[in-house]
Symmetry: C2
Subunit: 349 residues, 2 copies
Amino acid sequence: MKSVRIGIIGFGKVIRAFLELLPDKRDWIKTRYQQDLQIVAICDSTEYMHNPDGFDPGELLAYKLEKIASDKRGRPLDQSEVGYVVNSFLEMGVNVAVEALPPTRETGEPAQSYLLAFLNAKVPVVTVNKSPLVYGYQTLYMAARKQHVAFKFSGTTGAALPTTDTVATALAGAELYGFEAILNGTTNFLLTEMIKNQSDLATELEIAQELKICEPDPSLDINGWDTAFKTLILAKAFIDPYVELPDVQVQGIQSLTYADIEPVIQAGNTLKLLGKAGFENDRLRLRVKPSIITPEHPFFHVDGTTKAITLFTDTMGRLTMIGGSSGLKETAATILKDLVNTHRDFSRI
Amino acid sequence: MKSVRIGIIGFGKVIRAFLELLPDKRDWIKTRYQQDLQIVAICDSTEYMHNPDGFDPGELLAYKLEKIASDKRGRPLDQSEVGYVVNSFLEMGVNVAVEALPPTRETGEPAQSYLLAFLNAKVPVVTVNKSPLVYGYQTLYMAARKQHVAFKFSGTTGAALPTTDTVATALAGAELYGFEAILNGTTNFLLTEMIKNQSDLATELEIAQELKICEPDPSLDINGWDTAFKTLILAKAFIDPYVELPDVQVQGIQSLTYADIEPVIQAGNTLKLLGKAGFENDRLRLRVKPSIITPEHPFFHVDGTTKAITLFTDTMGRLTMIGGSSGLKETAATILKDLVNTHRDFSRI
């Protein structure tokens, strides 16, 4: 039995969903993968906590939720604590760190500093945070390679839609030369509803916010930037690590009206916000834009918060994957997957 | 640089395609995966050959093809040579054996004996042959677990459609509780053409045989048994190893006429031969049968030799994958993938 000693940075909704999922899965994971998953340390804006014997996930969740309810919030974690947190985690024998800090705009910090410090200390990392990948992928990737440790981020580019694992393992030996994808569940839901109800974005946005399908501020979703971040991460990880955010042409759905969509629908087609990566004249180009989808296209019925990707390869042809709702449970399941895979001998599967 | 020393058993079309693919990929695989792939031994019905420094794949292919052209065929390999072949491979330092013997009906032999002997000698195996899995999966699986070596068979259940890798790694930590799939390219091609041309099976079969899309004897395809074998292998590997061939209910397309299909098409639906696995009253049931597919179903436009699968999981929702033609190149690419993954440290990906 391999002891997987987990240290967590951050305590947002995804980590709460992970703490709810873990008790249901622990025994099965012991049997199936011979791994004992224990949370031995956690650090967020309010406090650092550890338990060398492993926290009970349910008790930890209840304690933390009570703390939030009583509004005992601290200041956000910053880079000044990195050394302390990493050393404390190492003292607890942490052998994988899960980073789930809130995303930050126009910088990957403080997440990037935490991830880098763990990798440099030879601790594998799992992140569900896009920011450090968008702004610091190359640095983190090089550190992971140099230290020979895992750097996993399945949950950042489509949650339960297995984008990164598929390219890395199911398409091993094949070269990826491009992809096109629906990577943002919120936008896809809004477009689906606009088309279904022949209504405008503002109307559907209001309903989606009431249903809590949208964040209170959905601007990064509807202006296409969330799709751009995910497209960039996939392109960096699997095609060209040197492609950067300014290389992505981004057009969102923020100014689309139903009048714009109507002719597309009347021609028998539909409209989806796609992230695309592909070569033009030997140069990798990334584009996010609302795209016409014909009835024969595998994305034609990819509606609601469902996501999809088509991968173009040299020797394995094209592969389309459809699935993965935007739920917290599914994102929590990707943390579980990355943890299990980090401590697994793939050659024996 | 890891030295991957390959021993091959069999010299059919898939191995020929693999020998064509390898020279194009060797240098890239050295760079990307730090693995040097060398074929150091090969054994088929005509002879046993080895080269401790590695064969040139092109020269090996030319030599073997000339031998076939001059009709110097031997007797088929049988179980009596297993000990000799395994010992000879071990002397050459083979650290992964590729088995691609012709499929055998109603028995997994001699492939099963070869695979078992390699596993027991702690040599990882890659097979593209369904027979030993249909009849001996449990024995081989137990040997692989006991000896802690890889037992890989990506190419047996959909070729380039990554069925086994996806469940094993991309859905790690999630439980698979069923699937439905189009797993036979020939049948899917025939059904697509019957519908397109409003014609009967016999007509389309003749054309497909001329186009070499069909085997000279396509009976295992059209009567549903090829789909049944693949459905069984997936169910054994990922749901219940004790399910056996007599547990699969099989109905093929052999007696379908266009008159049978017409009402389905006129109702706006289409017809596909599906392999399905799912629980009914706590019992795993496997079924192969022509099934009505509605326009919203992700398989509606999966035409020609393309394959598809939908996987039903507990924590990751449902995932549909579409892709993977029946080509020899794609099957050869799955051998390459399994070889690379066998000698890879997944925790560092």
